[in-house]
Symmetry: C2
Subunit: 212 residues, 2 copies
């Protein structure tokens, strides 16, 4: 986009684009990526099929935009001012609990993620590379957080391994989402995550604020 052009001249297109992403968000979360047709999304947000294809030439492009939007929302809500896991592991742990509490306020988002990540276990799924990179990144971040805590003497035991802890914590977060979506009253996601994170710490985490 040329810098000299005022943003407002793009506003109608941007609003329409956001409407489409929002409709796709809802549809993918409700019935999954594969089950959702471009025609259905066009219908849901009141644009023609040609209008939809102008913004997103393929369903894969729209899926990528939805995943980017999900990450942008979480980043803005939780991670925007973070020092980073390698600089402050304790801060990273606290933000993960806040992320979990935020997720508990957005079941549609959580459902979208659960269905897409399960679909994307098929290595031929268009979102497979995204989820593969995403899990690699999450494991690296959590591993770096544990390394930072180790270097500061904040771990409960020197036997705690960074990568295994990362794998376990991510698995717990993913699995809690499924049980919580199926039986919302039974599972307190942020409380379960907090207890797991505190199990590797010498001292409890600070009590969390509510990010909603």
């Amino acid at each position: 986009m040329p810098k000299a052009v005022p943003q407002s001249s793009y506003a109608p297109g941007r609003v329409r684009r956001e409407q489409i992403i929002s409709a796709a968000f809802t549809a993918f979360g409700a019935v999954g990526y594969r089950q959702t047709s471009m025609s259905k999304i066009a219908e849901d947000c009141g644009v023609s099929r040609a209008g939809l294809l102008h913004h997103f030439p393929t369903k894969e492009a729209l899926l990528q935009a939805v995943l980017d939007e999900r990450d942008r929302l979480a980043y803005e809500k939780i991670f925007a001012d973070a020092p980073g896991p390698q600089a402050d592991g304790l801060d990273h742990f606290e933000r993960l609990v806040r992320l979990s509490a935020y997720n508990a306020s957005t079941p549609g988002l959580v459902s979208l993620y659960a269905v897409l990540s399960a679909e994307a276990t098929d290595h031929a799924h268009p979102a497979h590379p995204y989820f593969s990179r995403r899990y690699d990144g999450s494991r690296l971040d959590l591993g770096a957080a544990v390394d930072n805590l180790r270097s500061r003497g904040l771990l409960r035991s020197p036997d705690i391994r960074s990568t295994d802890t990362a794998i376990d914590v991510i698995a717990l977060m993913d699995g809690l989402q499924i049980q919580w979506l199926i039986s919302p009253g039974v599972v307190d996601m942020p409380a379960r995550l907090r207890e797991r994170l505190e199990s590797v710490l010498a001292e409890p985490l600070a009590p969390g604020e509510d990010p909603r």
Copy 2:
């Protein structure tokens, strides 16, 4: 089925039924329940649509048969001779590790379960009641196992709570499956589960045999 009739007279129908379940198993696991059509399953196992509907009048009936088949396989392989979690919690823990090792030898099954359980988080999905009951049952079993261990003085700490441990262990198993399917070389499912179960025990579990 009248007892006097020899089983063999039913064999052709039974074989056909098993072929259909096997084809549905593969299709549901690869692309999910919603994305699979009855016509595709009929085609995959070389029966007419009428032939398929003779055995399974609805896709929901076929889904239930697939879920029952999955449970039957796991039961036969792992739980057939079990004393039960409330009678021997240690035995239940050991069998869960064996189940995880068995799952690691059947990625198609694990994929089926991951996709269906995520789809079924939608409370209108035909498999929602099944998964809801299944998670309730798994939590009760694991909670009973922890209670049994507590009564025998085999827990590492009296602070370990039964239901929370059950929720966490099931979540870990579910989440490990997603990471393992996406990055098979990175995650050792039975090893991660064993370590988690041992974290609540005063003594390590017996080294496992390979159930495959």
